[in-house]
Subunit: 151 residues, 2 copies
Amino acid sequence: MTDASQTAAGPFEGYLCFSVYAAGLAFNRLYKQVLDRFGLTYPQYLVLVALRQRDGRTVSELGEALFLESNTLTPLIKRLEAAGLVERRRDTRDERVVRVSLSDAGRALAVDIECVPPQIGEAIGIDHARLGQMAQTLDELAAGLRRAVRD
Amino acid sequence: MTDASQTAAGPFEGYLCFSVYAAGLAFNRLYKQVLDRFGLTYPQYLVLVALRQRDGRTVSELGEALFLESNTLTPLIKRLEAAGLVERRRDTRDERVVRVSLSDAGRALAVDIECVPPQIGEAIGIDHARLGQMAQTLDELAAGLRRAVRD
DNA sequence: GGAATATAAATCGCACACGATTTAATCGCA
DNA sequence: TGCGATTAAATCGTGTGCGATTTATATTCC
């Protein structure tokens, strides 16, 4: 018996941290549903989008765009490479740097997944302007958080 | 050579999914800084807060509160148990159910960590009313997302 | 009462995320 | 020129998340 009136959930009313956490979980699940069809995870999807916008980014540049570091990105990119979607090459001018570029298959997939954001937007059932507003609010919050982490 | 003028970051302008993702990462990092001192991770912190609000919750009830399932919660709770913060007991009336309750140490820690949210709030540097507004916005978004996942 | 069904946790495998460290290449500068 | 400092990735270990399955207990209903 599930008694909705008793609010088993809800010890975190007004905890912004929890709202962000829960929204992240929920977004992740929705994206998983949509991206499973393409065999991609959400961060992998982000890498493809970033590379489509500018190919041949270095691991560090991808990290700046996605707010991730090499310890997360290296294995992720290697999985994309194993899937035949990207290629990793050491920069000839600076052998420390690894440049990531889309393969033909990766470029094709990057085009295919352009349909994802509007599809998600529609599924959420909140009007577009409001979603944009939310994004702006969150970016402001994330900026505040990153400032706080840096001290 | 890092060319800041070229905006290596930023291929996700206006992508709400990315704003949520990035805010989640940023929140997680800030909380990690603060919670490390208590030897807690963020989800572990949430479990303690939930149990302080009502002790003896079942794994399922914790799952409803945190939007997680037993596959995530069981190992997490076992780590809390190993740390001596909670106790796990099979319900005598229904042996399928596991009830989780705070140990003395857990209760004490649950009191200690009450200082965390205000500390975080201050670190962010965004006024309290605006934070509450953001939480409300995000809850609305998360509700929309969960509706969409259920189809 | 007993077999089919349902439910609660637990288990397993995989993919992030991240602190800490390591390796390799480049830079800075005396 | 050469050596210490810096930088870019990679590696390692731990802790989530989650789909899929398994195990154990409870319920249903004939």
